[in-house]
């Protein structure tokens, strides 16, 4: 994931190529993951029905209980209404006009190892800068000193195409595989924990996901184990008109530790695409999970055509004493972002942290934040949110801090900063605070500011272009959050901040 260099095809202008084409290609620079992979796909028929749910389940070779679980979710979903309380404005989504399952044809028979994976798929990830081949390991060469290795699960549209370093992780007792594999190989774990943090009845999008999720990642860290490397999942939406509904389940057993990274990209398409994921984290006594996201789904063009509708439910359950979770997110992509990674601080002395950078440019809309539910005694939470709005974008922080009657002597600190670039965008902060005991303390600080002309001029007078100046000032504004990211991701996130603000000034 550290590899930011992506070798893109060189732009060659031949005779007879019209101006429009050149301009179109040139304008693609802003979103550099906008290309699509031309690959033969198998689709389930368009639309959603019990038959589709059964088909997804049978494609994954699932046991009866999981099919029933999905069908129950589907039936419940039919009676639910899409929520509209967020500050988001988008046309009605036609849930029957989507494909719910798309898989590369070559994946019909699942490859047993990465060597059997279609080279086109491997090339796609290479182009994205995601190393899937365990070259060092295969060649029997140790990675250079100091270079941390990252294990990757790569999800392409509806299926996982491969997971690296599985054998080495298994030596440490760590299970890292696709969720469809986990259902087969570790049914007892999946059955015990799936839906235990985000129940299938939770909300409209989570219920939809429960019915149709096709793949995703599964992680189990056994008691007392520090996961020997960073784990990551790389999501790629490729097929057109196809929703991606992945499900991630991470179980960190007592005294264990894992750092998990997630990255997302999608090709440029004129139509909107739906992404409704569910992430569940189960954290037991004295265990700790760091979950970092760099979300860079295609944001749509300047006029708001195309882009991903990102409706995600992420929740961590600090189920036992002294459990710790840290969510860090850098949200730069998607046309619509609806996402509130939450912490249920159930165990006494458990801790939740949420660090967020949300950038909305052009016609993007983001409504994102967190929920800190304090149930245990002496629980602590910290929220640092940095929202940046540019163009005509709207950016909302929405957060809940709730101190229950039994959560005595608990603490929360919230800091919410908004930065505006230009005069046509908006920043909104909507904090909800509920305190039901007398010994807890909640602090909330919020600021809203504009990018300061004096700062920009100072930078420019030292030789930086206006865009470099904006990127530098904004990266400074986000520093606290960038520092919370693992180093490999922090570099990528910094350059992403600069890229996503291109064209926001001048």
């Amino acid at each position: 994931m550290a590899n930011v260099e992506v070798d893109l095809p060189q732009l060659e202008v031949r005779d007879g190529v019209d101006r429009e084409t050149i301009e179109t290609v040139a304008s693609m620079g802003a979103y550099k993951y906008g290309w699509a992979t031309d690959i033969e796909m198998d689709y389930a028929p368009k639309g959603l029905s019990e038959d589709i749910v059964r088909l997804i389940s049978s494609k994954n070779g699932e046991p009866e209980w999981l099919l029933e679980w999905r069908l129950a979710a589907y039936r419940r979903w039919l009676g639910m209404e899409e929520p509209h309380w967020a500050m988001l404005n988008y046309p009605k989504i036609d849930y029957q006009d989507q494909y719910y399952y798309a898989t590369p044809r070559s994946m019909a028979v699942k490859p047993k190892s990465l060597d059997e994976v279609d080279p086109k798929l491997l090339a796609t990830y290479k182009k994205l800068g995601i190393p899937l081949k365990e070259q060092a390991l295969l060649a029997g060469v140790e990675a250079p000193e100091g270079e941390r290795r990252v294990a990757v699960d790569a999800v392409f549209d509806s299926v996982s195409v491969g997971t690296t370093f599985k054998a080495e992780l298994a030596k440490a007792g760590v299970i890292f595989c696709s969720i469809s594999e986990a259902v087969k190989e570790h049914p007892e774990l999946v059955r015990k924990y799936l839906g235990s943090v985000v129940p299938p009845t939770d909300n409209f999008f989570a219920t939809l996901n429960s019915a149709v999720f096709s793949d995703g990642s599964f992680v189990y860290i056994p008691p007392g184990t520090r996961c020997p490397m960073e784990l990551s999942t790389y999501f790629r939406i490729n097929a057109e008109n196809t929703g991606q509904f992945e499900r991630t389940l991470i179980v960190c057993d007592r005294g264990a530790y894992v750092s998990y990274l997630e990255g997302c990209t999608a090709p440029k398409r004129d139509t909107h695409q739906l992404h409704a994921a569910v992430v569940e984290l189960v954290i037991l006594e004295d265990a700790e999970v760091k979950y970092s996201t760099v979300q860079n789904w295609y944001p749509g063009d300047e006029e708001g055509r195309g882009g991903i509708y990102n409706f995600v439910t992420k929740r961590a359950d600090c189920r036992e004493a002294r459990a710790k979770v840290m969510w860090t997110q850098v949200e730069t992509g998607s046309a619509i972002t609806w996402k509130y990674p939450s912490c249920i601080l159930r165990g006494d002395d458990s801790q939740g942290e949420f660090y967020s950078i949300a950038i909305a440019n052009n016609a993007q809309q983001a409504d994102t934040g967190t929920k800190m539910i304090h149930l245990g005694k002496r629980t602590k939470s910290r929220i640092v949110s940095k929202g940046i709005s540019a163009g005509r974008a709207q950016n909302t922080y929405r957060g809940l801090v709730s101190m229950h009657p039994k959560a005595t002597d608990s603490r929360n600190y919230t800091q919410c900063d908004s930065l505006l670039i230009g005069d046509q965008c908006g920043a909104h902060t909507v904090p909800y605070i509920e305190v039901k005991n007398t010994s807890s303390r909640v602090e909330h600080e919020a600021t809203t500011s504009k990018v300061d002309e004096d700062q920009l001029f100072y930078c420019r007078s030292r030789g930086m272009s206006e865009e470099e100046a904006v990127a530098l000032v904004v990266n400074g504004f986000c520093r606290e959050v960038l520092q919370a990211l693992p180093m490999e991701f922090a570099m990528e996130a910094q350059s992403l901040v600069a890229i996503s603000l291109e064209g926001s000034v001048g």
Partner: protein
Amino acid sequence: MLEIKNLHVKLEEEDKQILKGVTLSIGAGEVHAIMGPNGSGKSTLSYVLSGRDGYTVTEGSATLDGADLLAMDPEVRAAQGLFLAFQYPVEIPGVGNMTFLRTALNAQRKTRGEPEISAGDFLKLVREKAKSLKIDAEMLKRPVNVGFSGGEKKRNEILQMAMLEPKMCILDETDSGLDVDAMKLVSEGVNALRSAGRSFLVITHYQRLLDHIKPDVVHIMAAGRIIKTGGPELALEVENNGYADLLAEVK
């Protein structure tokens, strides 16, 4: 090096004429000082030369080695070798001083078509330059100008100047807010940079800075014009008699 001819400048917002025909010629390696009472247009001149928004040039020209300065973006002027040491250096929270310096240096090199400086070479260079200005490693790590004392801010400006190696340096009231020791440090920093190919325009209110940075030419500015030009002795005259006599002379 720097040629300013009959420069007329208006403040955009208030539609107010600030500079009313400034003419100035600074040769390579020369140090010129501009003195003048408050509101005479000294700072405006430095901002217009470095390309700040909010000013309209209504007449006249300014060139750097023959190139039209006023037609360039601020970052191009910087890459061409113009540097302004700010009277009030700006704070940039969250951006480390080192990061700022390196980004600026590489941006200029890029504009000039030169390769970026390597991390190792940069580190060596910045440590060496910082040492002579008594800027410690801790100050290099802190966010740009955030929580810096007045003296630290000015030393930091001189550090930037030393790193970027401009050919035309404008110092805008660099002595304001400095105690005697800080003024000595800053002046030594500036003097160390004096060379045959590098010129300075020192804008100051008081003569005392010119005890440390000895000018070749002194200009007195009032009401948007340069009303008198002379040698270093002119600064002493102002120090002893104030501006009143000079202003009366012109009227």
